[in-house]
C-alpha cells in the first residue's frame, strides 16, 4: 500500500476529510522552504504537494509563477527539489509527498533516471500538469511501473465521454480542478463542485480531492464537505510572498487544515 493509499484509509477510518497543501519548493529559499515543509504535518496537513519550479508554468496564475521565479533565482532545480524531499523524509516516513509541476525538467533529466531518483528521495506521487492521458506513454505508465502514483487532474471540461480515459491510469487520488482557469483565480463554489465530484465518484473508487480557488478555512470546509479533501496552494504561497515568517505561514496553514477537518 502506498503512503497515499494508507493516508486515505486512515482518514476514512477516522471519518476525516483530507487537507492537502501546496508550496513551491525553494520559495523563498531552500532553507526556509524546507522548514515550512517539515512543519506542515504538525500544522494539520495530510498530503504535501511540493511544487517543482519551472520557468513557464502555463496553468498557473501570477502567484505561483512568481514563487517559481523566486525559487529559480535562488538556485532551485529538480535536483535540489529532490534533495528537499529526501531531507523531509529523514524526519517523516508517513506523510505523502506529491511532486507537482511540468514535464520538461523531468524529460530533460531523463524519465528513467528521474523515477529512480524520485522514488529514492521518498516521493510518493506525481502531478504533471501538461501530461494528459493522450501522452500516458511518456511518464504515467513508467511511473506506475516504478511504484509511484500518477495523480490526474479532472476539470469542468472533462465531459462524461472523456472521464473514463482520464481515470484509466490514475492512482492515489483524483484531483478535481474546481474552475476553468489558472491557479489563484476564481473562487471555488461548493454547489458547483458537489455534482462534479459525484459524477467522478460514480466512475471510480479513488478519493477525489478538489483544488484551485480555495483561499480560506470557510471555503476549505465547504469544499471538503462535498469531496474527500481540499487543496490550498496560492493562498499559502501568497503568505510566503508577503514575507510571513515560517511560524506565521504554518499558523495560516493550521487554520485552513482545521477548516477542512471540520467538514
Amino acid at each position: 500500500m502506498s503512503r497515499i493509499d494508507a493516508k486515505f484509509a486512515d482518514l476514512k477510518s477516522r471519518g476525516k476529510k483530507a487537507f492537502v497543501s501546496y508550496i513551491m519548493a525553494g520559495d523563498p529559499d531552500y532553507d526556509r522552504s524546507l522548514e515550512i515543509v517539515r512543519g506542515l504535518p504538525a500544522a494539520g496537513v495530510d498530503i504535501i504537494e511540493l511544487g517543482l519550479p519551472f520557468t513557464d508554468p502555463m496553468a498557473d496564475g501570477p502567484t505561483i509563477q512568481a514563487a517559481g521565479q523566486r525559487a529559480l533565482a535562488k538556485g532551485m532545480s529538480l535536483q535540489r527539489t529532490l534533495d528537499m524531499a529526501r531531507a523531509f523524509r529523514e524526519q517523516d516516513d508517513t506523510t505523502p509527498l506529491v511532486l507537482m509541476g511540468y514535464y520538461n525538467p523531468i524529460y530533460s533529466r531523463g524519465v528513467d533516471k528521474f523515477l529512480e531518483d524520485a522514488k529514492e528521495a521518498g516521493i510518493d506521487g506525481l502531478i504533471v500538469v501538461d501530461l494528459p492521458p493522450e501522452e500516458d506513454d511518456e511518464l504515467c505508465i513508467p511511473a506506475q511501473a516504478a511504484g509511484l502514483n500518477f495523480i490526474r487532474l479532472a476539470t469542468p471540461t472533462t465531459d462524461d465521454e472523456r472521464l473514463p480515459k482520464v481515470l484509466q491510469n490514475t492512482s492515489g487520488f483524483v484531483y478535481y480542478v474546481s474552475i476553468t482557469g489558472i491557479t489563484g483565480a476564481a473562487q471555488a463554489q461548493a454547489k458547483d463542485v458537489a455534482p462534479e465530484v459525484a459524477r467522478i465518484k460514480a466512475k471510480t473508487d479513488l478519493p477525489v480531492v478538489v483544488g484551485f480557488g480555495i483561499r480560506s478555512p470557510e471555503t476549505a470546509r465547504a469544499i471538503a464537505g462535498v469531496a474527500d479533501g481540499a487543496v490550498v496552494g496560492s493562498a499559502i504561497v501568497s503568505q510566503i510572498a508577503e514575507g510571513a515568517s515560517v511560524s506565521d505561514v504554518l499558523e495560516f496553514v493550521r487554520g485552513l487544515a482545521e477548516g477542512a477537518h471540520s467538514a
Binding site: 514535464y103 520538461n104 524529460y107 530533460s108 493522450e134 472533462t158
Partner: protein, 410 residues
Amino acid sequence: MANEFFNSFMTGPDEKGRFGDFGGRFVSETLMPLILRLEKEYEKAKDDDSFWAEMQDLWTHYVGRPSPLYHAERLSQHLGGAKIYLKRDELNHTGAHKINNVLGQIILARRMGKTRIIAETGAGQHGVATATVCAKFGLKCVVYMGAHDVKRQAPNVFRMRLLGAEVVPVTSGRGTLKDAMNDALRDWVTNVNDTFYCIGTVAGPHPYPAMVRDFQSIIGKEVREQMQAAEGRLPDTLIAAVGGGSNAMGLFYPFLDDKSVNIIGVEAGGKGVDEKMEHCSSLTGGRPGVLHGNRTYLLQDDDGQILEGYSISAGLDYPGIGPEHSWLHEIGRAKYVAITDVEALEAFQLSCSMEGIIPALEPSHALAHVMKIAPKLPSDHIICMNMCGRGDKDIFTVARALGFDMSDAI
C-alpha cells in the same frame, strides 16, 4: 513518384500529432477537450469545398494573392552566382505572410461559433493580421504581447489598437513572445466557451502545427506554379527565415517530396551561437524538450528550464521551433543555419539599395544566407527565398542599430 519504396515526407503528423518523436499534445486537461474539438472541426473543414472557396475568395480579394514571384535581377548580378527569386509575401495585406494563416483560423472559429479571438504576437505582425481579420468580421480580439516587444514594435501596437483590438502587455518572464504565448494559453483555459486561440506559427499542441502549415502552404503551392511558368522547372534551393517556422513550412511543405530541391531554414543567430545563448537558434544551439504543448528543440539549461532567446528581430525571438522543423532537421530533409544580427542588418540594407524592397528583419536573415551561398553557385542554379514581410515595422529598430537619429520623427 509514388512507388512502394518511396517514403513520403508529407504524410505527417500521425494520429497522436507527432512528426517522428516531435509534436504531440502536452497541454493541461482543461485544454485537452478543446484541442480535440478543434482537431475534429479542422478535419471536417479541410474536406469541405465551401471552406476552401471562402478562403480562396478572401485570399484573392482581401489579401491580394497570389503574391508575385519576382526575379531579383540586380541582386543576382551583384552577388554574381545563382539566379535569385523572391516570393513577395511582404506585399500581402498587413505586410507579411501571417494573414494567410489567420484567415483560415478565423473562418474556422466562425464555423465553430466562437465570438472572441485571442492571439500571441512577437513582432506584432500576427497580432496585426488577427486584429485586421477580426475587424473585418466584427469579432472581439485580444492580443498578448511581451512588454519588451510592445516597446520595440510600437507602430504595430498602435495599428492593432486602431483596428479595435485590445493589446495586453505581458510582463512575466522577460516579456517576449514565449511569455505572451503562456498568457494566451492562460486566457484560453479561463475562457473555454466563447474563445478561439489563433496561434501565429507552426507551434503549439496538435492540430496547430499541421493546421497552420496547411494554411501557409499556399506560399509553396504558388511558387511551384509560378516557377513552372517562369523557368519551366522546380527551384534548386528554397530559403526561409525560421522563428516558429510558419513562413518556412509554408514554402517548404509542397516541395518536401521533390528530392532535387535543397531546403534551408535560417534561424536567428543574435550575437552569435555560443554558450552565452544570446541567440534564438533552437536547432543549432538547443536540444529536445517540451514547451507550449509540443516536443521540439528548445533553448534550455541543464535543468530543463527554458532560456530567453535573443534576436534583433522580435519575430524570431522564440526559444522553440515548430515540431515539424525539428523532425525535418533530424531526418536531414532540411538544413538549418544561423545568421547573426549584424549579417541580417547588412542584408536588410542590400535589399533596399539593390531591389528597392525594404524587408522585415525576419526575412533579412534569410537574405543574409542567400548572400553567403549565391556567389558560390552557378548561374543556372535557382534560389527561391521567401520575402515573408516588409520592413515598415522595423525602421525604428534599424535606425537605432545604424546610429540614425529618428527622435524628430516622433
